[in-house]
Chain length 435, copies 2
């Protein structure tokens, strides 16, 4: 097989997120050798990552080994490796000392969170992009309640029970709703000294409305439902400072031990590898066919590409990545068979949806603008359908049904990054006679 | 409630494994205030930990928050904290600066793996006691296959595809069987350059037979079935050296990138806290009523206790811990109600069981000494029954049914301990033209 592969056009895809994996799958019948390179061994269903961070789902339930996904696609191989550079002159992707030649290259390396020039905030306000981010955040949130139960200092307890989420887009809204329900429902009867229902959850958004991609009416519904769940929503509010003590916003200090960043993203290093112009968020400015100016064999797709439609950059959502992955694969197939290139890429927006806590969602499509229980059922159906494999669908459906009936969370696990280092006793107060 | 608690006898339990949790539950109706202290937030079902390490189950499926388990027990509270010392003179448990007074103390802090004085081996041959151990080992095993796929050096590839398990007790046997099936079945069609079925799995045991706690006939069956699964079994073999290159045993070097330690354990620090005599494995030498000599209010149970029966120390298994937990709780209840102490603790051995790969187990009870499929069904029924909550039972049963039907693993997840540090490209070879 290796010998045959050598004589085929080499298509290298970096990144096995929605865009990269979709491109690989759409090349399954093409006379090419596909190599997918990712530094993780798994494809991650990012839209449900907030449920891992809030103890609702286990990591394995929203991820699938890239290798297993592409098992049946005989023209594809998978490398678990970190790309260190791209040699465009020789058409090679560098993995440290190793070089992987390409005839066509698709870069789908996604984005990380960005702190708008305040990188020092990351330490205090982690973001949510990977499984590791999610389990770290889960430990941080659960540990805050544990430390609050132990401390005898009322001010410290209040700070431990205050959660600030920065960024009122879908991720921020979903996190705020999930933390509110965790605190106010799932943990309600689990503590003896604190009352988790007294936890304060603050959602901060710089613009005038939450979820700016949705119509104002749905944003208002979202705000109302969050208020109903006990979330304080602060719109038109800029965060001025984040440190170990909490958040400074509107000139006011909020003492909070847990701050979560859901405000901005920055594209991965693809632009730097290529040395081509990028926008402020480091996204590569691609041509209408998603190729890189001057490099017709290199395509950039998904969160790491800046493609415009009607003068606006396309949003960093799964749908865009999926459609771009399919498009780039199609362009490559066409060129190999000598067809003329298809018309420029056009994004077909099938709509947006977001959940707000249990049994409430907002759905915005061309025909439908709804909120509430029925929207949540739709949200649920769509997310189950798009999960990558059947086992994950069954497992997630079971966890959701269980959570719906029992109000409990399935994965309330605090796991230390390194158990060999003795965990520091949490929130110890001064020597004091207990009880 | 806090006020009432102060006037009750204080029972402090350190460690929420099988023994500690069982003791806490058996005090549910007693007129005492129970405080359970653990440095993890979850109770762990250790007998299935090897399935997490071999990607069969997710961590949350074999663990439950201690708090949730004791939610309904109103006389119990839970502290997530690390015990730093015990002040027996003042009857206080120290958590850093904080002091928790006790009238009765139960120490059930378990054991970690021990390297018989070769602590330098730990780096190369990790053991399996916590969730973190299991996910680290899972990453190590899965990463070995990934690195083997990437490398172009045949010797390196062979070393990456060699797995040595040191210790032929139930854990070692179960790990060897699970790795064999992972390599030879689940991963079979997932790679393009390596053949995972060529992976070499070596199980090393110092004694003449595997699973020494079982009758020789069952040990032989185990050996035969492991051979059938493609595991090389080396009994009567002492490991002389373990380093980055592999293992030295019987004067022969085995090049192996993955070595797993399942050979010995050492009790936790309970003996050091108390300053009382311990055995070679650091287990506290307890009196027949499981109390500590000279400290009638302190009980030590489970893996951290050395209790003898017919001149032999009791084994470090869940059953012993459970029965000791119940016994210690009973002694405390009895003393509070002025009854005379019960007769000395006696362990009632209900038998042993271990799985060997898929659909094969050995079961040894007073009446039954069987191996094969029916033994495996028994093993399965017992393990499902003893899982701590109903949700876990359903989830594990689903994963097992799925794995049984599809031959696949549900949790093939490589997660870096710290994603912020760029993962090093795995097993890169020298500059070479690919393909």
């Amino acid at each position: 097989m290796e010998r045959e592969r050598q004589h085929l056009p080499q298509v290298v895809i970096v990144g096995a997120g929605f865009g990269g994996l979709e491109a690989a799958r759409h090349l399954r019948a093409a006379p090419v050798a596909v190599t997918v390179i990712d530094r993780s061994n798994h494809h991650l269903f990012q839209p449900l990552l907030y449920q891992v961070a809030t103890a609702g789902l286990s990591p394995a339930e929203i991820s699938a080994p890239i290798r297993a996904v592409l098992r049946g696609q005989r023209n594809a191989e998978v490398f678990l490796a970190e790309v260190t550079a791209i040699d465009t002159a020789n058409q090679e992707v560098l993995l440290g000392d190793r070089r992987v030649p390409y005839d066509y290259l698709i870069l789908a390396t996604g984005a990380r969170h960005s702190y708008f020039g305040h990188d020092e905030w990351e330490e205090y306000a982690p973001g949510l992009k990977s499984i590791q981010d999610a389990t770290t955040l889960r430990s941080k949130i659960l540990r805050a309640f544990e430390a609050a139960e132990l401390t005898e200092d009322p001010a410290e307890r209040a700070a431990l029970l205050t959660f600030v989420i920065v960024g009122g887009g879908p991720t921020g809204v979903e996190m705020a709703g999930a933390i509110a329900e965790l605190a106010h429902v799932a943990l309600k009867r689990d503590f003896r000294r604190i009352d988790p229902t007294q936890a304060r959850i603050v959602l901060v958004e710089g613009l005038a409305h939450l979820v700016p991609a949705f119509p104002t009416a749905l944003a208002e519904k979202t705000r109302d439902h969050l208020a109903h769940l006990g979330v304080e929503v602060c719109t038109d509010t800029m965060v001025q400072e984040i440190d170990a003590a909490g958040v400074l916003m509107n000139g006011e200090r909020i003492a909070a031990r847990t701050v979560i960043w859901a405000a901005g993203v920055r594209a991965s290093a693809a632009g730097n590898w290529l040395g081509v112009p990028t926008d402020r968020a480091n996204r590569v400015l691609v041509l209408p066919d998603l190729s890189v100016p001057g490099q017709p064999h290199i395509f950039v797709i998904g969160d790491t590409a800046h493609a415009e439609q009607e003068g606006e950059p396309l949003p960093g959502v799964a749908q865009v990545a999926l459609q771009q992955g399919r498009y780039a694969a199609g362009v490559i197939c066409g060129r190999l068979t000598g067809q003329t290139d298809p018309p420029p890429f056009r994004y077909h927006d099938k709509g947006n949806m977001a959940t707000v806590g249990r049994a409430f969602a907002i759905v915005d499509t061309r025909r439908l603008h709804i909120s509430g229980f029925f929207a949540w059922v739709l949200w649920l159906a769509v997310h189950i359908t798009f999960l990558i494999d059947f086992r994950n669908r069954v497992a997630v459906l079971f966890q959701w049904a269980w959570a719906y009936c029992t109000y409990q969370r399935s994965a309330r696990l605090i796991v230390e990054d390194n158990m060999d280092e003795a965990p520091t006793p949490v929130a110890m107060t001064e020597h004091s006679a207990e009880r």
